[in-house]
Subunit: 137 residues, 2 copies
Amino acid sequence: MERVPILKIGDILLVSIQVDMSDQTAVALQEDLAERIVATGCHGVIIDITALDIVDSFVGRMLSTIASISRVLDAETVVVGMRPAVAITLVELGLSLNGIRTALNVERGMELIAIERADDDHDEPDDDPVPEPTASP
Amino acid sequence: MERVPILKIGDILLVSIQVDMSDQTAVALQEDLAERIVATGCHGVIIDITALDIVDSFVGRMLSTIASISRVLDAETVVVGMRPAVAITLVELGLSLNGIRTALNVERGMELIAIERADDDHDEPDDDPVPEPTASP
């Protein structure tokens, strides 16, 4: 059985889906990803689907499940790299990818996750903290 | 023909090889990568081979060619995610992956490229510049 590799980059786990997903591969990916989120304490999951020609209901459901699992484990999921044709087909099929955030590419996905985290947790110091302007009385 | 997706992350192009490489796929990847290096001006290429069960002479040669092409285009190539069994087989096959740098994972590969670039170009300002201590006369 093929396993989809999970790459850790900073606070983010990156998954690039390039193979046809079977039931087994999808379940293995969900399990691996859940384990890695817990093991690494990462707060973001980026799923790259650049290589996919089509996102059918099976893949759509898998993405939704991954997003739900990640959310329970305190991680945001962003799907990136969707081709224009895939987006068109998705809408035509009536699949709305509920609960899944999307971004154009990996970098924008990372930005999205960083913004989400910053909103969630104002106390956490940022990598590049901007000093708050002090209001003059 | 399957194409291996190339993901841009900051100054680095990330390629995760998950499919069996044919002649055509390998040539397409080399061309795509060369084009992306030129288009983005990236200075690093990370090739993740976590998903590969074996690196034979064909894949080894492909990695060497990619590294050579990237070098000509002023980009460092690092191969990451090699499994222990793959490393053992490589040595047993007498393949030494000449001219290819390796790192344990993507993050270490990124560090390696950052260090290489810093060595190559001392003038370039760093992301986190440390003020030079001024020598007291």
